[in-house]
Point group: C2
Chain length 305, copies 2
């Protein structure tokens, strides 16, 4: 079982309209909503792949209930830790030009609520083949909290992926996560280095045991003490990039669970991520495209400077 933790989940709402008019009244033509948050999306992908997974997340209020109901309807196994605050929403306003995101910060999570979530993760670790800690921390939870979950996993000998950015990523590196998965912007922000291979080396130096950098249309860069690999998606894959990084984490978690070699993990993650771009919703992927891409993509070994 792959256990995902989503510290700050959301109800992801999508508003569709022809053209967003700022500072005017806009009629929303179509409304959709689904449970979201990075770890939740990872569990969605794993569930669609038929892999055993469990999404652990704090939930509160009416929006928390809506998240829970959506996960139930989707059949994604989950365990909610109740919190007093109201789970946040994100609103994606999609018009004919592009998407405008409105991201709520999320509820304040109290110390004892976070402790309850940690305790639940600890109980689940004996059954976990990989732990995934993915997405932002909610207000009230210190940057070290992600690192704390990494340490729990280490103590039980469970590989752990940390998909975080900013102070939470920096704090996490110190306790040596099995892998981190920054995107290009997060990689550059964390290291101050523009070249992805050099920046990934800096994250290894800082403590990561492996760095899997998702570079959008430029594919994936994997850097470990054993080497550096690059896998590229097929050309012309256009669609919805939201959730593509979560598909990378799902493939990475599967690969770690199966002790797959890094070039295969890199190729598989690139294929799954490209197939996710073709699906309209985060956490979904085009299964036919995934098979085609997986058959075609190979990772190449790089010899970085």
């Amino acid at each position: 079982m792959i256990v995902t933790v989503t510290p700050n989940p959301a109800l992801d709402v999508t508003y569709r309209l022809p053209a967003l008019r700022p500072h005017a009244a806009n009629r929303v033509a179509h409304v959709a909503a689904q449970a979201g948050g990075k770890g939740v999306n990872v569990s969605r992908v794993l569930h669609a792949l038929g892999r055993p997974t469990l999404a652990v997340l704090p939930l509160g209020g009416e929006t928390g209930r809506a998240v829970r109901r959506d996960l139930e309807e989707a059949g994604v196994p989950h365990e909610a830790v109740s919190i007093e605050g109201e789970t946040r929403r994100t609103v994606a306003v999609v018009d004919d030009v592009d998407t405008t995101m409105l991201n709520e910060a999320g509820p304040h999570v109290e110390e004892q609520e976070w402790a309850a979530l940690r305790a639940r993760v600890l109980q689940l670790l004996p059954a976990a083949r990989v732990l995934v800690v993915s997405g932002s921390l909610p207000p009230g939870v210190p940057a070290q909290a992600g690192a704390g979950l990494v340490e729990l996993a280490h103590a039980r000998g469970v590989p752990v992926i940390l998909d975080a950015d900013g102070p939470a990523l920096v704090a996490g590196l110190a306790v040596r996560p099995t892998a981190v998965k920054p995107n290009a912007a997060e990689l550059a922000a964390a290291t101050g280095i523009d070249d992805p291979a050099a920046a990934a080396a800096a994250l290894l130096e800082a403590g990561a045991q492996a760095v899997v950098a998702s570079l959008g249309p430029d594919g994936l860069l994997v850097r470990t003490p054993e080497g550096c690999w690059r896998a590229r998606p097929p050309g012309g894959v256009a669609g919805n990039p939201t959730g593509a990084g979560d598909a990378v984490v799902a493939a990475l978690a599967t690969g770690l669970a199966e002790r797959a070699p890094w070039p295969l993990i890199a190729a598989d993650a690139t294929a799954l991520s490209a197939a996710a771009v073709l699906a309209p919703r985060a956490g979904a992927f085009d299964a036919d495209a995934y098979r085609r891409f997986a058959a075609a993509i190979r990772a190449e070994r790089l010899t970085p400077a």
Copy 2:
């Protein structure tokens, strides 16, 4: 008791941020939410004035529960008719420039759900001094539905205010509501006439027993078969115009309940509306300003062409 019906209520959500950036990711600095919809706002104002009121509204889903909880916390008496669909939300994105409104259409309300709401109104009418039907109709409910409520009130001898626009206003005029309350845009759209006094005369002709037109900073125009009156707010009242029209309806309902003369109703509604502009939220008003304005404002009789 003044009974208000809100056919398509909402949870009104306010997002505050320094500057909305279209087609980019926006962090929402502050989130607030309250039960909304025009009839709900009318009941809020009446409740704050210490007038007995009851808000009747269809509610469904998690958002319906959030609306109900907010009304409970605010102490506004209400009766919800349960519906299968999910109550809508409106999102007001307030930045340092102005407000961007995102208005969901609302849930489909089934025929038997609307029939249940009508039945509840019918039960309440013996205790009602005035019925207020205010705001848009939800998807699935025909334009004649508002007129149907007007007819229920007429059959019980209860004065009824219809605050609607478009086809619902046109359908309502045919059954002779005690008063309608268009704003300037609705008045012009319903009649094709720019001059408010002439447009109000056309609505009388079409069936309204009285027309109370809220003209924003230009104040209020009342036109009945007995005459035409104009009341103007004090100069320099700036703030939040959302809900100012609902304050007019609250004052109008109170005036009808007390059989007040039209010049007094016009002056009182203008004062309450201006005091509502000074309050940051719809359904609230500045009580001190209301007293000051009410002492100062007099309606003048017009002799329109």
